[in-house]
Symmetry: none
C-alpha cells in the first residue's frame, strides 16, 4: 500500500484541534556561536519547549535544499517528490492568481525585438509601473485565443504571468525562449500529441502580443517558459479528513495551502493580525496553518539581527495561541534560511510538538521529574526547576530531542496520531 | 533493486545465533513521570543496556499505530506496507487454525433472521459454549461445497472462522453482511471474474448454514466478512537463509511466525516455559523469536502495575537467555501499548541490540571508557562504574541511544549484519 493511500484509509474525523505554526526559514547557522533562534530571547517558546517533544526535520531528505513549494507540501503531509508543482504555477500563486484544474500557468518576460532578433531578454528591466500599464492594455486586447481564456498578471519589472484556462490544455511544451540575445523568437513545441493544442495557442499568443506591441520598444515581444498545469493533489479533506484553514499574508503561501484544499482565511499584515484571525475562526476548523514570512525574508537578506527580531515578535504573540489550548500544537519552519547563507539551506528544522500523548508528559511536577530522570529534551539531570530554566527552543536542544531526526512529511502524520485522528493499521 | 531482493542476494548462512526477544506492547507513556518500563525494576536488563546499543523503532512509520500483524512482519524484516495480511487470515491465526496457500479465511458472526430480515447481527451474543455446540453440529453437516473443503472454528460468543480450501479460490469479494438490522441477508459479490467461484461457494455456504440452523434461533444464520487469502510471503529461509524458530504462547503470534516460514516450537504457558524451550532447541536453529504476550494484554486493560510486573518477570528470566551467549541479541517490542491509552499506539519502541560488533564495546575497561567519553547510551559522563550503575533500559535512554530512531523493519537486517550473515553489496 502507498503511504498516502494508507493515510486515507486510517484517518478519522473528531473534534480535536491542531495548530501548525510555521516560521518560514526558521533554522539558521550560528554567528558568534549562536543561531538566530538561539540568539533570540524567546521566554514563551522556551517554556513551551520544556513541556514539548523536540526534534529536527528534513524538508525533503538530508542534504536537499527545498523551494517554498516542496517544503510546504512536506509540512502538509505530502511526499514532495511525488507531487511536483510547476514553476509557472508557483509564479501564479506568488502573484495571487486564481488557477484551476483547467489552467496552464506560464512565466513571461517582456523582451525587446530588433530586426527580427531578440536584443534584450528583459526589455531593459522596464519599471513595474510600465509593466502594469502594458498588461492593462494587453488585457483589453487579448481575452481569448481559440476557445481558451487568456489572463495576464504583472510581476516586478519585466516579469508577468500568463494563465490559459480551457479544455484539453497540457503543459508538456518546450520553452518559448531562445535563452540568448541575437537570436530570433523561439516558439513552443509540443512534447507529445496531447499538448499540440496548447502549443498552438501559446504561439498564437506570442504573435498577437508582438503585433499588439509593435512600435512600442523596449517591451515589444515576450519570452514564455515554465509551462505548468495546476497539479492534481488530493485535498487534506480527502487525504486526512481535515477541515483545514490557512492564515498567511503572502499570496504564494495562500496559494500553496489552496493546492491542498485549505480554506484561506482573510487576515491582516502582522503576526498580531494573524493570531487574531486564528482566534476568530478557531471554532470552524480542526487544522490551522499559520505562516510567518519575515523570518525567511530577513534570512534571504542576510540580516541576522532582524531575523532574530521576527522570532522575538512571534514569541510575544505565542501566549495568545496557547490560550486557545489546541490539542496538538507544532512550531517549526518549512526549511532553514541561515542569514549567513542569504538563502534557503538543507539544514534540518527545529520541530516542537505539544500534545497530551507526548511520551514525556510535563503536567505538574512529573514532567520535570521525567526530565530529571533522563528524557533527552531536558538539558540537565539536576532539579526540576533548574532543568526548566535551562530549557530552550533551539537547534541544539532539538538535535537532542526525543523526536530525533525526521522527515518533514512525517510531522503532519504525527500530529494526526497525537490528535487521535488515525485509526490502527491492520489487525 | 528492491530492498527484499537485496537481502536475498547478500544473505549467507553461518553458525551464529540470533535471539529476538519481543515484549508485546512494550513501549509506554508515563504515569507519575515514568513509563511502565521505567517504573519496572529490571536489574538484568539495565546491566545489559549498559553493554548494548540502544535506539527507538517505529513499527510502520512515525504516527502510525499498527495492529499485531504488520507490527510483527516489520520485526521479521518485511515491509509491512508491502505485505498485507487480510483480517480473515489474522482471525484464523488467532484461533490457531491451519491455513495454506490454497485457503481463503473468513470472519463469521452467528446472527438472527426473523421473517427474512436480520434482527440481531450477533445472535444475542450467544454463549461461547453454545457457539461450540453449533460449530460441532455444522462441521458434521457441511464438509464440502462443490470441490471446496469447508472447515469451521468457534471464536468467542457469536464469532467463528470459516476456512475454505481448494483450487482457484480468490478473496476479492464484497462482504456478505448487511451491516444493519432490519435488512435481508446480503450475499457476497465477486469484485472480478477470478473470484466468481469463491462468491458462489460462499453464498451456497450461507444458504446451507441457514437451512441447517432453521428453527434454532437466535443463531439461525450468519454474516461473513473479511475474506482473505493466505498471503504469499517469501519465507525467512528464502529471504535471509535463516533456520528460524518461534516460541510463542498465543496462536496469533505462532500463526504470524508461520506466515514467514518459522518452525513453531511447542512450549508451555509461562515465560519460564518459553525460556526452557529456547534452551532445549538452541542447537537446532540460528534465529529464535520469543514472544511475551502479557505486557500487551495488561496495557490493553489499562493495568499499568501488572504490565510493570510482566516486565519484571521477564527480567528475572533474562540471565538464563544470556547464559546461552547468543551472538546477537535484541530486546524490543512490536509496538507500544501504553496502559494510559488502553490500546496500541504509534510511539516508537525501545530497542536494545547486543553484539560483538556493536560500535561501543563494553568489554573490559574499554567499554566503560567509551561510555565515559560520551557515547549517548551511557547516562552520565562521570566514572565508568557510576555510569554503568545509572544505566537503565528505558524509553528515555533509548531516545538518546546510538541506534537513533529507526524503522522496525530495519532491526532484523541489523541483526543479520551483526551476525555476519550479510555479504557486502556491490564491489
Amino acid at each position: 500500500m502507498e503511504r498516502e493511500e494508507l493515510f486515507k484509509k486510517i484517518s478519522v474525523e473528531n473534534d480535536k484541534k491542531m495548530v501548525l505554526l510555521v516560521l518560514d526559514g526558521l533554522g539558521g547557522l550560528p554567528l558568534n556561536g549562536r543561531t538566530e533562534l538561539e540568539t533570540a530571547r524567546t521566554p514563551n517558546l522556551d517554556l513551551l519547549a520544556a513541556e514539548s517533544e523536540l526534534g529536527l526535520s528534513h524538508p525533503i531528505a538530508p542534504g536537499i535544499t527545498p523551494g517554498s513549494g516542496p517544503a510546504h507540501l512536506s509540512l502538509f503531509g505530502y511526499d514532495p517528490l511525488q507531487h511536483e508543482i510547476g514553476r509557472g504555477i508557483l509564479e501564479a500563486l506568488g502573484v495571487g492568481v486564481e488557477v484551476s484544474a483547467r489552467s496552464v500557468a506560464v512565466r513571461g518576460n517582456f523582451a525587446t525585438l530588433e530586426n527580427g532578433l531578440v536584443s534584450d531578454r528583459r526589455a531593459g528591466r522596464i519599471a513595474t509601473e510600465k509593466n502594469r500599464e502594458i498588461i492593462s492594455y494587453l488585457s483589453g486586447k487579448i481575452k481569448k485565443i481559440e476557445d481558451v481564456e487568456v489572463r495576464l498578471y504583472s510581476g516586478e519589472e519585466h516579469r508577468f504571468v500568463l494563465v490559459l484556462t480551457g479544455d484539453g490544455l497540457d503543459d508538456r511544451l518546450t520553452d518559448a525562449d531562445p535563452e540568448a540575445t541575437g537570436k530570433p523568437l523561439l516558439y513552443a513545441k509540443a512534447k507529445n500529441e496531447p499538448a499540440a493544442k496548447t502549443a498552438r495557442v501559446i504561439n498564437l499568443f506570442i504573435d498577437r502580443l508582438t503585433s499588439e506591441l509593435a512600435g512600442r520598444p523596449p517591451a515589444n515581444t515576450c519570452l514564455l517558459r515554465g509551462f505548468a498545469k495546476y497539479p492534481a493533489i488530493p485535498s487534506m479533506a480527502e487525504r486526512f479528513k481535515l477541515r483545514a484553514a490557512a492564515i498567511a499574508v503572502y499570496p504564494m503561501y495562500r496559494g500553496l495551502a489552496q493546492l491542498v484544499g485549505m480554506e484561506i482565511l482573510e487576515t491582516g499584515r502582522t503576526i498580531g493580525d494573524q493570531v487574531a484571525t486564528l482566534k476568530k475562526h478557531y471554532a470552524e476548523h480542526d487544522f490551522f496553518f499559520l505562516h510567518v514570512k519575515k523570518t525567511d525574508s530577513y534570512g534571504e537578506d542576510g540580516d541576522f539581527v532582524h531575523k532574530v527580531g521576527v522570532i522575538e515578535e512571534f514569541d510575544r504573540w505565542l501566549p495568545e495561541v496557547l490560550e486557545l489550548t489546541p490539542d496538538v500544537l507544532v512550531v517549526t519552519g518549512d526549511h532553514s534560511t541561515p542569514a549567513r547563507m542569504q538563502g534557503h539551506s538543507w539544514h534540518p528544522n527545529p520541530v516542537l510538538l505539544k500534545s497530551p500523548y507526548q511520551r514525556y508528559l510535563p503536567s505538574g511536577g512529573s514532567a520535570l521529574d521525567a526530565i530529571a530522570c533522563g528524557p533527552p529534551d531536558g538539558q540537565g539531570c539536576g532539579k526540576a526547576g533548574a532543568a526548566a530554566a535551562r530549557a530552550k527552543f533551539s537547534e541544539g536542544a532539538c538535535a537532542r530531542g526525543i523526536l530525533g531526526q525526521m522527515y518533514a512529511m512525517d510531522v503532519l502524520p504525527l500530529m494526526m496520531a497525537n490528535a487521535l485522528k488515525f485509526k490502527k493499521y491492520g489487525a
